[in-house]
Amino acid sequence: MHEMAYADEIRQLVDQNRQGKKIVAVTVETGKLAGIVPEALSFCLETTLQEAFGEQVVVTLNCVDGEALCACGTSFKVSEPFQACPNCQGYRKTITSGKDVFLKSFEIEDEDE
């Protein structure tokens, strides 16, 4: 949920960091525990970023597994909240990654040609 709000935050982060340069591509990464529907986020990102920076912007969205650390000391990949630890079958875990949405990188038009 809140894909539109995330898309707008990504737009702001790109704008704050591009130093006025023309954007040609943006790569975003979302974790599987972020509560995001990837297709919806993709759509919102394209709409928002193309409206702000031009039709030429190519948007890439990568969706990655989260990671959890179990009380037994095992680290394991998680793709949804009800996963048990593969080592002890317990649920006493801390999610260490996978809940966030990141602006990974963007590409600017290289004017030095």
Partner: protein, 213 residues
């Protein structure tokens, strides 16, 4: 030709930072701060009315709703300070809204700050406000399968309030199933069964507000 710039910036960071600022301020003022999250109609405000009558001016409530200040007015009538945030469409509160509301409150003699989030089992759970802990609500009329349907909230809460237990006899609600489901997700969660109507469980709730887990 294009040039790639690595960023690695979080889209959640702005709210997280605002939440941390809130948390720092709340700690400096010695305030106990809780974020109440549950469906519309699960009994959050009614429980806060009883809490306001008990704690009076030691407690303040920041109310969150899409529209109206009905809830803040209810709290004020029962003796605690209250301020209303009307989101006008937003389905959850964010840290910046909470800060603005908090800045408008008289903090004299305040010990407990309750934030009653917008009625919603989904969105509020992932937006930090600077609270010490989240209190999740599940009322008997809502059904006993809701823990597994909405795990994000129940995973993050430190306390589960099972409310409206005065309706035990007339509803097919399996409290043991709820306890089992929630402990599986969150082994350390505290649970209080209560009825704001009959008073059952209120002493334990008041104790939790005053002293914590």
């Amino acid at each position: 030709m294009s040039k790639k710039i690595e960023m690695n910036l979080s889209a959640r960071e702005r709210n997280e930072r605002a939440a941390k600022d809130n948390q720092t301020l709340f700690k400096a003022l010695g305030l106990r701060v809780l974020n109440l999250i549950g469906s519309p109609g699960c009994g959050k405000t009614t429980l806060l009315e009883k809490s306001a009558a008990h704690f009076k001016d030691k407690m303040a409530v920041i109310e969150g709703d899409v529209f109206t200040s009905i809830d803040a007015e209810r709290i004020l009538k029962h003796g605690s300070r209250a301020v209303q945030i009307e989101t006008g469409g937003g389905c959850h509160l964010n840290a910046e809204q909470v800060r603005r509301a908090f800045d408008s409150l008289d903090k004299n003699g305040l010990k407990i700050l309750i934030i009653e989030n917008v009625g919603n089992l989904v969105c509020p759970s992932t937006y930090e406000l600077g609270e010490a802990g989240k209190v999740a609500f599940l009322s008997l009329p809502e059904g006993d399968e809701k823990i597994v349907k909405y795990p994000a909230l129940f995973m993050r809460a430190e306390m589960l309030i099972i409310s409206k237990v005065d309706l035990k006899e007339v509803l097919d609600f399996n409290i043991d199933r709820v306890r089992e489901d929630v402990r599986k997700l969150n082994p350390d969660i505290n649970i209080i069964e209560l009825s704001a109507k009959t008073g059952e469980g209120l002493p334990a709730w008041f104790d939790y507000l005053a002293k914590g887990r």
